[in-house]
């Protein structure tokens, strides 16, 4: 059943991607950057040295394995993998500094919040040539990801992996508290009731019912905003959605669970991230992203379970985000770099990623290996979530209003000010930031 559904969804995605590719072609012709855009796979004996910048040290072994496989085809292209952690913004501080002096790495990881900033400022090489030459087929990836990395009709990144959001739970903690395991039919009310029971059961022991990481929206309030029918940013990326009624309800959700003691308070969540509380068995239910499956399973073993997000007033829709591999506009070695990016986008490369169970590979039909890597945990829900998920909200300078969220929203969650007031204030300031982008 799931397979059937998935396939039909995929063909739909393929259609969408094809349209995107068509649009991209015409776009490419109009601006006429043909020399760089056209691509033919370079000769097998081409020699080059590439730097591949990534930020997750845990994924380095998988990336190295892919490089080794790539070197079977292109033995003379040496790829050096350079890891800079994204924690403390080190990775982006570095990439931005490199970009300011035209010395970006030959291939590097890109994320949603930054793609428009780099693409619209002409820092990236359009990769439509790869699609035209059939070296990359965009229909192989979820449409939401292809859309994310298509800016102004041109494809700038080849999707690498994706992450979706689900509800994690600790089977042992639930059992002890006498609370039934969550199901896909759960609503926000079910979550609150069960969470409350758990918090009360463990009162005084520092164990809580339910929470999420409120230091950013992706794994927490973005999903409740969507679930309550709100939005973060308008489709054209010009207007904030934080002041919509649904968005306010989505923010209020977190205030309520903190207020009622279902969740640790805002200060506790800043001191110890919800994810860390969950892995140290201090939290029974957690809204979080697929990328924590590896470390969480390592800490909790078979006590870890996962289920689809509970339904809010409108839906149980969450966000989908994913990384892509990109090449700088002034690539020193565009052919070698594109050959490598094309290889990173192949099924073979995706399968390597799937086996290591770090992230869900973006290449369709390779994800099952990722699900199977942790049998019995119900990881399929992350793939199912991808079908209905909303693309990660971005604009040209996402960083500007992400920073505003970080400044204002903690007050709403802590109850220092009413969520509605904060939401309106945030929307006003975010709109101001958006108007500065042009």
């Amino acid at each position: 059943m799931t397979h059937l559904t998935r396939r039909s969804i995929l063909s739909l995605a393929a259609l969408g991607a094809a349209t995107a590719t068509l649009a991209a072609c015409s776009g490419g012709a109009a601006t006429g950057g043909a020399a760089a855009a056209a691509y033919t796979a370079p000769a097998k004996d081409i020699s080059a040295t590439l730097t591949y910048a990534i930020w997750d040290a845990a994924q380095k072994p998988a990336m190295q394995k892919i490089v080794d496989l790539f070197n079977v085809q292109y033995p003379n292209i040496k790829v050096n993998i350079d890891v800079t952690p994204s924690k403390g913004s080190a990775y982006w501080t570095k990439i931005q500094t490199l970009a300011s002096s035209d010395s970006l790495p030959d291939v590097f990881w890109m994320n949603g919040p930054k793609i428009k900033l780099y693409a619209e400022n002409n820092q990236l090489l359009p990769l439509d040539g790869l699609a035209e030459a059939k070296a990359v087929d965009t229909s192989n990836y979820p449409k939401a990801l292809v859309d994310l990395y298509t800016v102004g009709g041109k494809l700038y990144g080849v999707p690498k992996d994706f992450d979706t959001i689900a509800l994690f739970y600790n089977k042992a903690l639930l059992r002890e508290a006498g609370v039934t395991e969550p199901t896909a039919a759960w609503t926000w009310d079910d979550l609150k009731t069960s969470g409350d029971k758990i918090s009360k059961f463990y009162a005084g022991k520092g164990v809580y019912g339910f929470s999420g990481d409120l230091t950013g929206g992706q794994t927490s309030y973005y999903n409740t905003i969507l679930g309550a029918g709100g939005s973060i940013i308008s489709a054209d990326g010009k207007k904030s959605g934080f002041d919509e009624a649904g968005s306010i309800a989505g923010l209020q959700f977190w205030r309520d669970i903190i207020d009622s003691g279902v969740s640790p308070n805002m200060q506790q969540l800043t001191d110890t991230l919800a994810t860390d509380m969950f892995t140290s068995r201090k939290l029974a239910l957690l809204m979080d992203a697929s990328y924590i499956v590896g470390p969480t399973h390592a800490a909790l073993g078979d006590d870890m379970g996962v289920v689809a997000l509970p339904k809010g007033p409108t839906s149980n829709q969450g966000v989908i985000h994913g990384l892509a591999n990109v090449i700088p506009a002034n690539a020193k070695n565009p052919d070698a770099a594109r050959a490598f990016v094309a290889f990173l986008g192949t099924k073979v490369a995706a399968e390597v990623q799937a086996e290591t169970a770090t992230v869900i590979p973006a290449f369709n039909d390779t994800q099952q290996a990722w699900v199977d890597a942790v049998p019995g945990a119900g990881l399929q829900v992350f793939l199912d979530a991808a079908r209905t998920a909303s693309p990660y909200p971005i604009s040209k300078n996402t960083g500007a209003w992400n920073s505003l969220e970080g400044q204002l929203l903690p007050q709403a969650f802590a109850g220092t000010k009413p969520a509605a007031d904060i939401a309106k204030d945030l929307a006003t300031k975010m709109n101001e930031a958006l108007s500065q982008e042009a």
């Binding site: 913004s89 931005q96 400022n121 230091t215 800043t270 001191d271 960083g399 970080g406 929203l409 802590a414």
Partner: protein, 318 residues
């Protein structure tokens, strides 16, 4: 020995008043020719290229809307006008001042500890000095993480200790007020070793005869501390306070490591440099960040100048 503090006083305006006139005439007559230029050339060259030029660039960019990846559009005084209407600036200036004042408290602590460490015939003095100096040589990034855990509201040792006394400790790094105190405590902890060494050396320069004379007159040890030690230490105290103020106004790393993002207490804790970093690297608003950078430069320069002026009233020169 010569009087060192006179020179320190002259540092920022290292000019005419520095040496008595006859000596100066002699020096000029002597004439060093091209030699001084040979001596300073490598440094002046390197500093111009790597430090001065960036400051000049920043000054220029503070009048522009500076593209994330280069390309600046001149917008006159707009960034500075915005600086005055930005409510986070006065608050973070206040935070920076409070932080600096708390770290300055390390100076009286260092004076008392040094006086004890230099007690005649004290055993293990070298051991104590090492003990107090160790925090100064730790890696700030690693130490920030340790302190973050030490201050953790749920499993940190501080709150555990307080709970033994029946006190429920706050969430130190995420409660407004407490967060700044926690960060400043770490700042004080890190700088104490440096302060101790400088003040300790100052203590050792105080002629022993003065104490002996005071003892003959029957002055208590406490009295000796306040009427001999402290006044004669003022030059060292002054040096340490100048260094503390300059580094206090550059607070950034500790905040970054200890507070994390989206911290409820951030508005009441963030420093000017933190705001600078936010605008430059997170919000991609480098023109405005440049204006904040220039503001920081001006404030520190003004404060240092004031310190040098006011010192004449309280620093004793033997």
């Amino acid at each position: 020995m010569s009087n060192p503090t006179t020179e320190l006083r002259a540092a920022p305006e290292a000019g005419p008043e520095e040496k008595p006139a006859p000596l100066r005439r002699r020096l000029v007559a002597r004439g060093d020719g091209a030699w001084p230029w040979l001596f300073i050339l490598p440094t002046v060259f390197g500093i111009t290229v790597f430090y001065l030029w960036p400051i000049i660039q920043t000054f220029y960019y503070s009048f522009t809307k500076w593209g994330v990846f280069g390309g600046a559009k001149f917008i006159g005084l707009d960034n500075y006008v915005r600086l005055f209407s930005d409510s986070s600036i006065p608050q973070s200036l206040l935070n920076t001042i409070i932080y600096t004042l708390i770290v300055l408290m390390g100076i009286p602590i260092a004076v008392v500890l040094s006086a004890l460490m230099e007690s005649p015939g004290l055993k293990f003095a070298g051991f104590y000095r090492t003990l107090y100096f160790i925090p100064y040589i730790t890696m700030p990034a690693a130490v920030g993480i340790v302190w973050r855990l030490v201050f953790n509201g749920d499993f940190g040792p501080i709150n555990w200790f307080l709970s033994l006394l029946g006190i429920e400790g706050p969430y130190w790094t995420s409660t407004p007020g407490f967060a700044l105190a926690a960060v400043a405590t770490v700042g004080l902890w890190m700088s104490l070793g440096f302060n101790l060494i400088i003040i300790g050396a100052g203590l050792r320069e105080i002629p022993q005869e003065i104490y002996e004379a005071a003892e003959m007159d029957g002055a208590s040890r406490l009295r000796q501390f306040f009427s001999i030690t402290v006044p004669l230490l003022t030059p060292s105290i002054f040096f340490v306070s100048v260094v503390t103020v300059i580094s206090g106004f550059q607070l950034f790393d500790l905040l970054y490591v200890m507070m994390g993002k989206a911290n409820l207490a951030m508005p009441q804790t963030q420093s000017l440099v933190y705001i600078f970093y936010n605008h430059a690297f997170l919000e991609n608003d480098k023109g405005y960040a440049a204006a904040v950078g220039i503001l920081i430069l001006l404030i520190i320069a003004a404060l240092t100048a004031v310190q040098f002026r006011v010192q004449r009233k309280w620093v004793n020169y033997v």
